[in-house]
Amino acid sequence: MNTSLSWIKAYVPELNCTAKEYTDAMTLSGTKVEGYKAFDQYLEKIVVGRINTIEKHPNADKLVVCQVQIDEDGREIQIVTGAPNIKEGDKIPVVLEGGRVAGSHHDGMVEGGLKIKKGKLRGVESFGMMCSIEELGSDREMYPDAPEDGIYILSDNPEYKDAPLGKDAVEVLGLHDVNFEYEITSNRVDCFGVLGIAREAAATFGKKFIPPVVTDTGNSEKVEDYIRVDVQEPALCTRYTARVVKNIKLAPSPEWMQRRLASVGIRSINNIVDITNYVMEEYSQPMHAYDLDTIADQKIIVRKAEKGETFTTLDGQERTLDDTMLMICDGEKPIGLAGIMGGENSMITDSVTTMLFEAATFDSTNIRLTGKKLGMRTDAQAKFEKGLDPNTAMEAMNRACQLIEELGAGEVVGGAIDYYPVKKEPVVIPYDADKINALLGTDISEEDMIRYFEAIDLTVDREKKLVVVPTWRQDLERLVDLAEEVARFYGYDKIPMTLPESSATTGGLSEKMLMENRVRNAVEAYGFCEGMTFSFESPKVYDKLNLEADDILRKSIVISNPLGEDYSVMRTSAIGGMLTSLATNYNHRNKNVRLYELANVYFPKQLPLTELPDERVQLTLGMYGEGDFYDLKGVIEELFGKLGFSETAEYTPDAGKTFLHPGRQAKVSYQGTEVAYFGEVHPEVRKNYAVGERVYLAVIDLEKLFVLPKKTVKYIDVPKFPAIVRDISLMMKKDLLAGQIEAVIRKKGGKLVEGYELFDVYEGEQIKSGYKSLAYKIIFRAKDRTLTDEEVSGTMDKMIAALEEMGASLRK
């Protein structure tokens, strides 16, 4: 929503403030001004001048030398110009030496404007410049009589031709004005009209609000002789008013009207269209004009469309309707899509002689849904969607007819059709100053509150302590709404600042959040940086990850109105996002990248959704560069330990993930529950993401992990007796796993084995192909005595025997 300051002042004549003061005060009272543009911000020393003589330039064919009189006392300056459209005696805007214009004729506005200095053009001195409308920072929308190319001739315009020489031309042209842009909230339907904003401005600045005085209009004829109205859908059309104008004289509307419309971004068409737009801006009541001669049977019927019916709107588009859409029809056919757009078949053309004016109120939801279904969004529709006040319709109608008469655009037929079966009555709200103060934490007197109410045209019954709310303020329903009105005009800034003095509460993070923070700290210690990716994915990711057709990860929730296919399903895993992030880094040639994300993933309980899905947080780790499978495994082991899951986790080969290397992936179980998997990314998948190095991924289902029993930390005596250390070197087939060897060491070693450490893994020369060698350091210790060699050797023998049985032989 936009208004110019001059338009507001038309209804609040006492208003006297700068653009900045207006912006600040209106914003603080609730009508947020988003920004403003002063039309004169770069205009300086521009006066009305008259060209006394024009002579040829001695050195240039396309230039002329003018003597321009710049005051009534006869002072002349010389100006050289190339403008094609001037003649002796023309009055023109002249910027004097040292002044400023907003821009240049061809390139438009220049930030800061352009300074005008005296200069020489082809050897002839020039002491200023005659201005085009563009140089004055405006355009032909606002000044339609300005020439397309050339100086703006003031004397060609009856409004300006008598302006005295030397007078401020910016003032003459009405350019000492400001255009404000507002952010109006959806509850303030009234402020989508200039009158609503003017009322707020008057209340904000404590000035009088003077709305237009709408006078009686119309000849002695009766509108009923021209048109009858039959509303068949009273629920969808709460009011329908209509009047008729005959002997229409289409013409351009006066400049003040064109300029006001232009100032809010509406293009002038002709007097009739401009009047409907003008009233819509003023009252926030859309109007429509039909060519009465095109209306069959002198009849308007408001009904729903038939399913599949087609209708061509005045933009020439054919629309296919359904049976929920409200139509304005004549005796034979539809002539308008109610509240959205009129029909091509009934629109005003240059040959119009008699027209029907319509100002109605329609059900906001119905209009909104119809617009949505048809993919339309018109100004009228935008207003109806907010829910207009039916009580405004007739006033707007009469205002339009008043303008018709005032502008001589036609002859208004007497009387008006007014279908309005259920009059909307004002809401009455009891007010209670104490309760309002209790809500706000203030101490505002009842008298002040009443003053605020009355300033915005609420009627106050002091006896009964009631506020009668005019129907245009649909947002005021109960006491809290009145509290906001009081707060707005008392000033939000004057309300004190206190802290709640009520009950004490204990705050803190949930157990899950505390655990998540521990996860972050643990993996960050290993060099992983936290990333964030979108929760949406492209279904194409499934193929990039080589997922099987029946992979559970493919069963994702589909968004019904996504932002394109790339964001169309809810992720079942963050690995797509992780691989994309790693690829981004790889593309940027970042070395040794480690990323993690704590990401929610979404598993439907069934598709399509009938209840909320299983939403769970997973930790995804991804890395390339330094570090391998075992580094990643080390991070997982350390993470589990840090979180309190310090029993030995079980690592099983082949997690069944098609996107991981078949021989380099592991499933991780903790106390029998599968909680994670990790491994090297399959070379094909890596290629799909265009990463040229080995990539490692881990996914840990934190919600599964967090619920498992944690080991409580208890102190164990620091050993008092010495340990005995034995090294063994074993040779075995490659497919025998270290985990199997270690299980034997633990089992056969029993209590005596304090720990063991794998210190060498070897494959290659000196070893049979298909075989490998593992070397362990085994630490024996008893809590209560010094072990003897015999004891240790006995245990070692049993251990070795069991290992040999498994296929591992001792290397000597």
Partner: protein, 339 residues
């Protein structure tokens, strides 16, 4: 005899003093005190001395030996000290060479901001809670006083899964879950991810984060809302931060406001971050609408409350002077490692 001894001693001391290196001291020790050394040979010749003189001569020999040994030790210590000094000198390091670090990772700037926000509210007794991101229409809209077909619903460009299930557009949905639990008073914040159908550009993202706040208790006022949020702003942005409350409209609060903070870059003078205004909008807030309380089974005659919603990215972008929101979701480590 006595003269001989003092000559040996002087000779030894002179040699010690003139010696140039550690090895030489050993030679001197052997030459004078060794088995075949000069002083030893004096002892060996004791048998030629009259028995009554022997103790005296013995004593003199011992004194000479002690003297030489002392001198040797002194000289040795001097040599060692000098050697150590030379060694230390040769070991001097260039302290400006880079330190060796464990390359630890970095937290996402959004979460750094979130932790700061959480700390402030936890300190004021708020619990931190969560709610589902895929949500029922009822919690996201209807229970927040935004009924079906309300125009406010359109303003939020919602992603729908089904007619009744959507991606939450605001963390305000968590308010309803919290109120429904029926445990009063409530002081909570609910951080989380929200979704709106905005195309990705430098200032928009279809996914972003909010921190919802809700307080419900007896006698909660608009002044309490202002005071609480002022306290929050000062703790987050530093002493001297000013706040400004402007009237606004939200369906689920009345009166409603937006809060601006004085631009923490220019201190309110106006700069490119605050677009010259000196203020930066960071949150929307208001007193909980009585209808919202009623719908969740709370009696608005007994209880009042306030709610607020903070845009997390907004704060992160301003705090770190990040001018493109897309950087937050690209995960380039050259970006992430700066925080």
């Amino acid at each position: 005899m006595k003269e001989k001894l003092s000559r040996i001693m002087e000779d030894a001391i002179q040699q010690i003093e003139e010696s140039k290196q550690l090895d030489k001291l050993n030679e001197i020790r052997i030459a004078f005190l060794g088995k075949k050394g000069e002083l030893t040979s004096v002892l060996k010749s004791m048998k030629d001395i009259a028995p009554e003189d022997r103790p005296k001569v013995g004593q003199m020999v011992n004194e000479a030996r002690a003297n030489i040994e002392m001198k040797l030790e002194e000289k040795k210590a001097a040599f060692e000290k000098k050697l150590l000094e030379e060694k230390l000198k040769s070991e001097t390091l260039d302290v400006t060479l880079p330190g060796k670090k464990l390359a630890s990772g970095h937290r996402h700037p959004n979460n750094i901001t979130l932790e700061a926000v959480e700390d402030i509210f936890i300190g004021m007794g708020y619990r931190v809670v969560e709610g589902p991101e895929i949500e029922y229409d009822y919690y996201n809209f209807e229970a927040l006083n935004i009924p079906a077909n309300h125009p406010a619903k359109d303003e939020q460009d919602t992603f729908y899964i089904t007619k009744d299930i959507l991606l939450r557009t605001q963390t305000s949905s968590v308010q309803v879950h919290e109120m429904e639990k029926g445990k009063l008073p409530i002081r909570m914040i609910a951080p989380g991810r929200v979704f709106r159908s905005d195309e990705v550009d430098a200032t928009h993202s279809p996914t972003f984060h909010q921190v919802e706040g809700l307080v419900i208790d007896k006698n909660i006022t608009f002044a309490d809302l202002k005071g609480t949020l002022q306290e929050f702003a000062i703790r987050l942005f530093g002493e001297g931060t000013k706040v400004k409350f402007r009237p606004h409209h939200f369906q689920f609060t009345e009166p409603s406001a937006e809060m601006d903070v004085s631009c923490f870059k220019c201190g309110g003078k106006g700069c490119r971050f605050c677009k010259g205004s000196g203020w930066v909008e960071i949150l929307g807030c208001g007193l909980v609408h009585p209808h919202v309380l009623e719908m969740s089974g709370i009696d608005p005659e007994q209880y009042t409350g306030f709610a607020f919603g903070i845009g997390l990215e907004r704060i992160t972008l301003f705090k770190y002077e990040i001018d493109d929101m897309r950087l937050l979701y690209e995960n380039d480590t050259r970006f992430l490692k700066q925080f």
